[in-house]
Symmetry: C2
């Protein structure tokens, strides 16, 4: 006469309740939910009705334990507030919202060690796929990715040696293209201003340097960087530093759009004419670049699409059809605007 209900579970319906109600075996309920094609039309209807009536929702934890595979995408990004990564995450999120997969986000704070720690934690759940920003994993992080036993997509950049799959673009080329544009517009003393010099920023700087050296115009005093996190106000300060160091500066390639905006505001404040006295190029092409006065030339990157495409690649791999193109270069676009129209 004891209650058969468990002492622990909150009393919510389980698969056995559904099975009883529908008059079938538990396993058939499980199949009806996961592989509808393998259950006859009739039973499926009956089962779905029972599910509905009881308000049954499968327990993802039990599911993960039994199948040794959690329906989770692990996503590792270096920052949650940086608009660039927020857009990537949004793309990932939107692409996954109609799938059974959940998302678990990890914030590495631009630290390789933190990334390792998070991979360890994420791995313990046997995720369905891992999406990680960047290609500069520590050796031990790379080993964790290789042994994760699930599809791995490195995003934001392309490089020669993917762990599994890769989607992004060349930051080196982006930096070079931006700089070449300034050179073509006639600017000569072109500075580089960058904050939070993560590996991607370093490669943009390298692209800048390559372009300047090719033009015979490179000078280390033109480069102003800091490891401090990027912000609009920092952009303003760095520009003042740059100008103090090199008063003849006539152009700047900014590591990102926040910096570029800070530079523009300082130009306003100091009555420096843009684009006549100084040309400005940003990176990422946030919405505000087209609105500012003057509007700012920037390198448009396809962040949202990197998110959606990375999910598509991972889902294909999970389904057993890994894309033949393991490295996808989405490129970028230089968007010319008033800030370099001299």
């Amino acid at each position: 006469m004891t209650k058969p209900r468990s002492r622990r579970g909150g009393g919510r319906p389980t698969i056995a309740d559904v099975a009883r109600k529908a008059g079938v075996g538990a396993i058939t309920v499980s199949r009806a939910l996961r592989e509808p094609g393998r259950v006859s039309e009739d039973l499926r209807r009956q089962i779905l009705a029972a599910v509905d009536e009881l308000g049954y929702v499968p327990d993802p934890n039990a599911r993960a334990l039994a199948s040794a595979r959690a329906e989770v995408f692990g996503v590792l990004v270096p920052s949650l507030t940086n608009n660039v990564f927020a857009e990537v995450v949004r793309g990932i999120y939107d692409s996954l919202s109609d799938s059974p997969f959940r998302i678990q986000i990890g914030n590495t704070h631009y630290s390789g060690l933190e990334e390792e720690r998070l991979l360890q934690v994420f791995g313990s759940q046997r995720p369905a796929a891992l999406i990680v920003a960047g290609i500069d994993q520590t050796p031990s992080a790379r080993r964790l990715l290789e042994n994760a036993g699930c599809p791995v997509v490195q995003v934001m950049e392309t490089g020669p040696d993917p762990v599994d799959m890769m989607i992004g673009f060349s930051h080196f080329d982006g930096g070079r293209t931006a700089t070449e544009h300034l050179l073509q517009a006639g600017y000569r003393k072109i500075g580089f201003i960058g904050a939070r010099m993560d590996p991607r920023s370093q490669r943009r700087l390298a692209g800048y340097r390559a372009a300047m050296e090719a033009a015979g115009l490179f000078d280390p005093r033109l480069v102003t960087t800091t490891p401090v996190p990027s912000s609009v106000s920092l952009g303003r300060e760095l520009f003042r530093d740059a100008l103090a160091k090199m008063p003849t500066l006539d152009g700047v390639f900014c590591n990102n759009d926040d910096i570029a905006l800070g530079v523009l505001f300082e130009c306003h404040r100091a009555s420096i004419d843009v684009p006549k006295q100084i040309g400005i190029v940003g990176f990422n092409d946030l919405d505000m670049m087209q609105v500012s006065f003057p509007s700012i030339t920037s390198v448009r990157t396809h962040r949202y699409e990197i998110g959606t495409r990375s999910v598509a690649m991972a889902l294909a791999a999970i389904a057993g059809n890994p894309p033949e193109q393991r490295i996808v270069d989405l490129g970028f676009e230089l968007v010319r605007r008033e800030s370099t129209a001299r």
Copy 2:
């Protein structure tokens, strides 16, 4: 002579492996990891050594299943890219990084239905706590929250009737304060410009209206809104609309800082003097408000702190000491800058 290793698990060490190695029972290993105080010094050391040597990491899914409680915080926000919510999430994330709790983010896209759906999904995991943005849940979403069986924190706003706990500030008061500041500065034809008029924006608008009515200056033609998502470029367009509708406009309270920035840029473009001809006030006080030229007066909100404090409240409740203050008002600060210094 058969391999005792399971057919499924990838062969990673389990608690039983650790127990065998340390020469203790499995349950003792479990305790040593979760309640160190209840295991003798000696055994604990032995066990931790075994854990280390084997590289054992507990399986969170098995743990959740056995204890009917997942070590997960469910976080529901209306947008991932809106800097305001990104800051809240960052605060949550940072406060949880030293705890065993993971984070699962849900993006409601400002939709009540989507929020319900996500609460349903999240609930199936028996999360340790739920943090949701806003206080305007649908009746059925509210029921889901009440029956979640875990601490619930509503964030970003305060209101009279919390599901469980609440932390934020009054958007009505924020809107009123901003508007009163413009009035005190001598502006009279003060417009309201807002995009994505979610419930919080509506209350800021109500605060604006209350201040204007108290001054006997309210006119519906001063209000320009749209349900379209907010952006800097939209701010510019809405300001042009507002000006076309009411050419004598001499001030604007903007629903958020992006809009305010768009307004400022349009003023530059149209050679409208700020603050002489037009006063501008934003909302949230993003970093760029202090850098722009002229710098923009804004209502500073404590987003990051809302995130960290919400976690502290939830953790306290989980530990069995729910805070006596179930409603925490973090307030806001009006930051006066050049854009209203007439």
